[in-house]
């Protein structure tokens, strides 16, 4: 089959690779209808996560049709249109049974790497390096889905492919940030990053009853998108004083909940960007945490900061003093998508959650390297590039 494979840092190619095979009785094989770029892929693409091999298939946010079903699969049959959570989780371990699906004890076939790097292994993830199981990604014609009864969800007829696609990752990740960040009716919520995940976090905050939701980015087209499609306020950090504006818009208190949806390659217009960029390139720190620092600094006393952006290793100049002295709650997680996807599909069916606008560019899989180039460099207003491997 055809697939988009990682060939080395900043080097992608569409190649023929072996078709996936059923490996477990709870597996299904899915013929991919749509699969989409994610900002976290850029960390792999750039070589910032050194657990990739030449030939690894990228992609973890997708939907498609079931074409093969294992004998222990109960919820799915051949022909079902399913959206699949990007994390591989068994549904039976203690973490899964406590709705913390991305922490699954059994979903990662290479627990050794992350146990040594982070102290414990999270679950597996499609197309996200051998540290997270080495599962082949979704930028391919077919993909194997383990624990299919747990991770694959039948899409209601009234929800289009274009909308349901983002129930795989961006929507549940964003929802989790607002939910576990503790957004309540009346809250002021600030979201750093107006990419797919940031926009979904902002929309979740609106739907959870936040009084004001403010999205922060530097790209005007993304901020315009957030205003138009999500009904939220925006700040352009290259043109506005973020700290001053956040204080003014929250009665001098600071936001109740701050959601970081940027990750380890964040930018800023100030000198700290140069500082972090130099340290990252010299490998003195692995991640640039600029947005995370801002979220912590600007959060109100006793408020909550949730880290949704992907971080891989070590950061520098981390404001632990602000966390301690302001009594903040700091949380983070990869998505516990299985917890939210059924609810999100219902909201999509009711029209409460729209996502189609995120797919600014749609193209065949053969053009995926160009799609990633556009996505990485934000060319032509690209927010997400969607590939159709079997169109």
């Amino acid at each position: 089959m055809k697939a988009l494979v990682w060939q080395g840092a900043n080097e992608l190619a569409v190649r023929q690779v072996p078709d996936p095979q059923m490996r477990n009785e709870q597996d299904i094989i899915v013929r991919v209808r749509r699969t989409v770029t994610c900002g976290s892929d850029l960390h792999l693409l750039g070589g910032y996560i050194p657990f990739m091999e030449r030939g690894d298939v990228l992609g973890h946010e997708f939907l498609g049709d079931v074409v093969e079903v294992g004998p222990q699969v109960r919820k799915h049959k051949v022909g079902d249109r399913v959206v699949v959570c990007s994390f591989v989780s068994c549904g039976k371990c203690w973490y899964c049974q406590h709705q913390q699906f991305s922490l699954c004890d059994n979903g990662n076939t290479n627990p050794m790497i992350t146990e040594n790097v982070w102290g414990a292994a999270p679950g597996g993830c499609y197309g996200y390096s051998h540290a997270l199981g080495g599962f082949a990604g979704s930028h391919a014609e077919y993909i194997r889905v383990p624990y299919a009864d747990q991770g694959a969800f039948t899409v209601p007829d009234e929800v289009s492919d274009e909308r349901a696609l983002f129930a795989s990752d961006a929507a549940p990740t964003g929802w989790m940030g607002a939910d576990l960040g503790g957004v309540k009716p009346g809250d002021v919520v600030a979201v750093w990053g107006a990419g797919g995940v940031g926009q979904m976090a902002a929309r979740a905050a609106v739907l959870l009853g936040a009084d004001r939701v403010i999205v922060i980015d530097r790209l005007d087209n993304r901020l315009e998108m957030a205003r138009t499609h999500l009904g939220v306020e925006t700040l352009n950090y290259e043109q506005q004083d973020v700290s001053g504006e956040l204080l003014e818009r929250s009665g001098g208190r600071g936001p109740d909940v701050c959601i970081e949806a940027v990750g380890m390659e964040s930018h800023s217009s100030g000198p700290q960007f140069l500082y972090d960029q130099v340290k990252q390139q010299l490998r003195i720190e692995s991640d640039r945490p600029i947005a995370a620092r801002e979220a912590i600094y600007n959060c109100r006393k006793g408020g909550s900061v949730f880290v949704l952006g992907v971080f891989a290793g070590l950061v520098d100049k981390f404001p632990l003093g602000a966390i301690m002295n302001k009594g903040l709650t700091l949380r983070g997680a990869q998505q516990h998508g299985q917890r939210y996807i059924p609810m999100l599909l219902e909201r999509m069916a009711r029209g409460e959650l729209v996502t189609e606008h995120l797919a600014t560019h749609t193209m065949p899989l053969d053009e995926a390297p160009r799609g990633y180039e556009m996505f990485k460099k934000k060319l032509d207003g690209c927010v997400r590039a969607v590939f159709q491997p079997t169109s």
Binding site: E25, P50, R54, G55, W94, N106, T109, N116, G134, R283
Partner: protein, 162 residues
């Protein structure tokens, strides 16, 4: 990229060396003092999200652990907080010089690696009814750069902090 991989290899190498020579999560406090400088075999422990009656029905251990035979000592106890059952395993005759242990781990012949794999596979069998396999056939190709990573993932279930 070369810097990153180089840095990762150095850091990884130091970690692996520390673990090979020092034992997972152990300091010198755990070493027996004496002329031979031998240490107690450590317990490898996993918590299975099931009651003990499911972990060892009728006293029968799950196949991966039973396969280790009399070479290991196995203990079960209820996990605190209603988290299931703690399964602890250690070699009956595990006291060895650290250098010998390191050599066995490098060559993949350390019985402690077999204990880790058996514990992980037993937990998966009991909780999910099967052992999750990695994708096959692989889509990747060997290169000089990914050789260390390939060696590491071949030991994916046999190493780690367990």
């Amino acid at each position: 990229m070369r810097w990153l991989i180089g840095g990762a290899v150095v850091v990884g190498g130091v970690m692996v060396a520390r673990r090979l020579l020092g034992g997972a999560g152990q300091s010198k406090d755990h070493w027996q003092q004496g002329p031979a400088r031998r240490r107690e075999p450590r317990w490898h422990v996993a918590t299975v999200n099931r009651p003990a009656s499911d972990v060892a029905p009728g006293g029968r251990l799950p196949e991966p652990l039973a396969g280790l035979g009399d070479a290991v000592e196995v203990q079960l106890r209820p996990a605190a907080g209603d988290r299931g059952t703690e399964v602890a395993v250690r070699l009956r005759d595990g006291a060895r010089l650290p250098v010998a242990t390191a050599a066995r781990r490098v060559t993949g012949r350390d019985p402690e690696q077999a204990i880790r794999a058996a514990l992980r596979e037993s937990k998966q069998l009991i909780e999910t009814s099967e052992v999750l396999h990695p994708d096959y056939p692989p889509t990747t190709e060997p290169t000089p750069m990914n050789k260390p990573l390939r060696m590491a993932t071949q030991q994916g279930r046999r190493e780690g902090r367990l």
